[in-house]
Assembly symmetry: C2
Homo-oligomer: 324 residues x 2
């Protein structure tokens, strides 16, 4: 996307604030990009942001995250929320398998719901960095509940904590699923556990195992994460899930955990914007310090690259110059 | 680890060059760290590095990577290689499930083999950045074949291409395994495919499906990746695998692909060292630009952080000052 002019930024801001779908789509595309204008847009939207409740749904592919999302939406709407969905899961039907998709679904359940899939720039930073700015766009457009569906694969899962106020982890009664979740480091970070497809054998057993696994980490102080059995495909257990989501919100507000968590979110958001800039700088620096010829020479042992790197890290790196 | 003195760096260098196990262990710990002395050590070791053949073994947990590794080792030793193993797979028995482990195994098959597990700093950059410098330590210690076992999860798999000369992908005859590998983006990057546990139903069928999947991407130019059926647990098919590994090496050397690939490895290695320094800088910059009080104010909407970010990206970031 070419640099966006001030005039069109004003128009874009207006479009977002009035909830115009095309503007929302363009704004998210802009804030996902590395166009410097994205910071200008975010600056304009900022006064209208920061108020949505962010609900993360994570879990391995096949755990039924999208079905849960689909079932949650009408129930959340019935409670008065304006719901936006950000799908960072490339396998989600909400993203249709495509990298990007914008649509308002004209399904009864999904009417008025803005659904957007985000590219998961997975390699660096795990969760798509586009999430926090996309949340700001949706907030400015008047959505007050943003549901973030993330694929549950390793690091991707863990980062959801830095963008969501409440994290729901969906599991299925399958041998090894708890072990996988523990390995991925997700087991400790969920606020609510769902054992979906609970009609399958082993669901009750899994709840027991999960409770034991959770208690291995010591007595929970404060919030004791519930484990809910659901059959999302038939809507079973989803009302209970909604109740626990609201309970968790209330708990956090009363305990003060809300504030600490949101501070962490803000910090992560700003840090990831800074990281982005520096990442581009890492590539540029490599090319600057090491030309194609130098790389050849390094490869063949004719040039030792470490003196250059040491000099850079002592004198040339932003560390050395005292930062900014 | 505290900063290492020049004198002890000399001793450490000597210890590595003479192949002393404790020195190798200490050196790898140092180069894995962020201690600035790591660059000094690498500078000293550099003239003795760059010559090992790096063999990557990747695949999903349960695909039998460690069994393959265990079977490959004596065969590679019989061909005259001194073998070192770097396990980036936290589920590998070679790493014993621990984050770090150093040992020379006194198993007949593994005698003289140096085995080391590396922390997979998964969040940023996928594959452990410790791999290229750890390879240099092993090279300096006289190992001329480094076997890199990496867990096959998403991005982690893909990065193995940037550290290994030959990538072996281990699959098992299971519905969906090919699809998973395609989703993870690994399917195109392997040089040799192994369908392990080939006594299971569906192995021959899987070979056919995999061949078809590979040809979807168009006719291979040059190297046509073989698909080998193995039963690693009984050593079946492993001799054939070794032959194809050597054939791939020869092919690359003759075709010139070797040079291009190794250049990419060198570039990735240097870039990741630079990235590391800048990543620390991102954290420091965030703290510098946004104090705890400012973050509070941002959270409550009392301060708009984007003007500061814009100013930083215009004037303060290393981009703006023209790099180094």
């Amino acid at each position: 996307m070419p640099a966006v002019r001030t005039q069109s930024l004003d128009a874009l801001t207006q479009g977002v604030l009035t909830g115009e779908v095309r503007s929302i789509a363009r704004a998210i595309t802009l804030v996902e990009s590395r166009d410097p204008a994205r910071l200008e847009l975010l600056e304009r939207l900022f006064p209208h942001t920061g108020r949505a409740f962010k609900l993360g749904i994570t879990g391995a592919p096949g755990a039924g995250k999208s079905t849960l999302t689909y079932q949650l939406i009408p129930r959340l709407k019935a409670r008065g929320y304006r719901v936006g969905v950000l799908a960072v899961d490339p396998t989600s039907p909400f993203s249709g398998g495509a990298i990007l998709g914008d649509r308002i679904r004209f399904d009864d359940a999904l009417e008025g719901v803005y659904i957007r899939s985000l590219a998961s720039r997975g390699s660096i930073g795990g969760l798509s960095r586009g999430v926090p700015p996309a949340v700001r766009v949706l907030e400015a457009a008047g959505f007050d509940l943003v549901l973030i569906e993330t694929v549950g694969a390793g690091q991707l899962q863990v980062d959801v904590r830095f963008v969501a106020d409440t994290v729901v982890l969906a599991l299925v009664p399958e041998a090894g699923d708890i072990v996988q979740a523990m390995k991925a480091g997700i087991i400790e970070i969920a606020d609510i556990y769902v054992i979906n497809k609970a009609d399958r054998e082993g669901a009750t057993r899994m709840r027991l195992d999960l409770r034991n696994a959770l208690e291995l980490g010591g007595k929970p102080k404060g919030w004791n994460p519930p484990i809910i059995l659901t059959e999302a495909i038939h809507g079973k257990g989803v009302d209970e899930l909604v109740e626990f989501i609201e309970e968790h919100q209330q708990y956090q507000q009363q305990s003060g955990g809300w504030e600490a968590r949101r501070l962490q979110q803000v910090e992560w958001e700003l840090q990831s914007l800074i990281h982005d800039a520096l990442e581009q700088h890492a590539r540029a620096t490599t090319r600057q310090l090491f030309s194609a010829e130098t790389l050849q020479a390094v490869l063949h042992g004719a040039e030792n690259p470490f003196p250059t790197l040491r000099a850079w890290s002592l004198y040339g790196s932003p560390h050395a110059v005292g930062g900014t």
